[in-house]
């Protein structure tokens, strides 16, 4: 099997240039590539376009990259509570493209799967439809939406093997598998890295063909946004 292992996050992200288009997996703070984000803070690349369902919080996730002014544009479905984000947006430092979550998921999936465009009903009749082609199928109206692809995709999995095969945990899967497929170079960080052959081929969520680099992440914080418990 092809070996995709790199030493660590610094090694994995070192050639990401300023101006690159990145995809970052995760929903809220769940399943985000914590190590790759930390490494990008150190390389200091600028003018990044970040495709990610959310933009983190002020002091975690993509929020950290906003603080260091490394992000030029966010493509997201929900940018949540993030004071620095709001400030940069209002001051014009940051561009934002808001996309319905299912359309975002499908556009990324299309990017990985070689489908340049597809029709979806989401957003028809709303401002999301402005400037987009519309069309009726079986009496219902749809919008034409195009694929999204990235120069680099940064994903986070639970287990991975040296061939780049990935297994996610719980709802930390979310956008990660589609983004893995839609990146020209996909960098996967995992909590547990095993030799090829140790994962059951029938239980793998992301085939290694989509992953160019894989490393074992360290010090996962896995911050929780809404800690809700029953007593």
């Amino acid at each position: 099997m092809i070996n995709k292992v790199v030493k660590n996050a610094d090694e994995a992200v070192k050639d990401i240039p300023s101006g690159a288009v990145l995809m970052l997996g995760g929903f809220g703070l769940c399943g985000i590539p914590e190590n790759s984000i930390s490494a990008l803070l150190k390389t200091g690349v600028k003018n990044l376009t970040c495709i990610s369902n959310n933009a983190g919080v002020d002091d975690f996730g993509i929020g950290l990259m906003l603080k260091t002014h490394q992000v030029k544009k966010m493509i997201s479905s929900y940018v949540g509570e993030n004071a620095e984000f709001e400030r940069q947006l209002l001051s014009g430092e940051l561009e934002v493209d808001l996309i319905p979550q299912g359309t975002l998921a499908e556009r990324v999936r299309a990017g990985g799967a070689g489908i340049p465009a597809f029709y979806t009903p989401a957003g028809y009749g709303t401002e999301v439809a402005e400037g987009k082609e519309t069309r009726e199928f079986d009496g219902k109206m749809y919008l034409l939406e195009s694929w999204l692809r990235a120069d680099f995709s940064l994903v986070k999995a639970w287990k991975g093997d040296t061939a780049g095969n990935l297994i996610f945990k719980g709802t930390a899967r979310n956008f990660n598998p589609m983004m893995a497929a839609a990146g020209k170079i996909t960098i996967a960080e995992v909590e547990e890295l095993v030799p090829a052959g140790e994962l059951d081929p029938n239980e793998i969520h992301t085939p290694g063909i989509y992953v160019q680099r894989i490393f074992k992440g360290v010090d996962y914080e896995k911050r929780i946004e809404q800690r809700t418990v029953t007593s």
Partner: protein
């Protein structure tokens, strides 16, 4: 007397039928889960990738890798399934979810809904709302009948940027249960206990249709 949030949730829970797959939005819709009768077998979908949302976890069970679409920590029920966002919205878009319950800022008499953006205020994004309203077969809106300033939220046309057109089927407010008619208009189905038809008329800016006697809701 107008219903409180729990009253609205309880009334909506009566719309739930055995065997349904349901997506609950944030806010009052989330509360509905607490009032679905035990004997009904239903499955709650969370659009971030889970079918079979369970109760909140105990302190020991808390798992950062297991949250709902409101980013709350949760547990899974027996028979749950995990999947990615593309599969999740395929499920929604493909019409496999039987019932979607969500909040709204405005609903128009032809079923348009506005619940994602207020001009002049910070825009947070539509999340999955546009996909849900454009796709679901059966959409029930849970909301207050009027805004805090007393303006009706049931309008002839939405004044806010809309989330989807022609999609809301039923509305449960603190005052009434209403059904959006094919040809337009809010058909008044039930009144909140003690609330009069006149009070509902007063609070409804869009076309209200009253056919004969309107029964009171039965809330336990």
């Amino acid at each position: 007397m107008a219903l409180d949030k729990i009253g609205i949730a309880k009334r909506i829970a009566q719309e739930v039928q055995d065997g349904m797959y349901i997506n609950l939005g944030i806010g009052i819709p989330t509360l509905v889960a607490n009032y679905i009768p035990e004997e009904l077998n239903v499955v709650l979908q969370s659009e971030n990738g889970l079918l079979g949302i369970g109760r909140f976890p105990t302190e020991e069970e808390v798992d950062a890798d297991l949250i709902n679409a409101g980013k709350q920590t949760i547990t899974m029920r027996d028979g749950s399934v995990l999947f990615d966002s593309s599969e999740s919205f395929g499920m929604i878009r493909g019409g496999h979810v039987d019932l979607t319950i969500l909040g709204a800022m405005e609903v128009s008499e032809n079923g348009d809904i506005a619940n994602w953006k207020i001009p002049g205020k910070m825009v947070k994004g539509m999340g999955g709302a546009m996909d849900l309203v454009a796709s679901a077969k059966n959409i029930i809106v849970a909301m207050q009948h009027t805004s805090r300033s007393g303006d009706s939220k049931l309008l002839k046309e939405c004044s806010l940027p809309i989330t989807g057109i022609n999609c809301v089927r039923k509305i449960v407010t603190n005052l009434a249960v209403l059904e959006v008619q094919e040809e337009g208009g809010f058909l008044l189905l039930e009144r909140a206990p003690g609330v009069t038809v006149d009070e509902i008329k007063e609070a409804t800016a869009g076309k209200l249709i009253v056919n004969g006697d309107v029964p009171e809701m039965k809330i336990n």
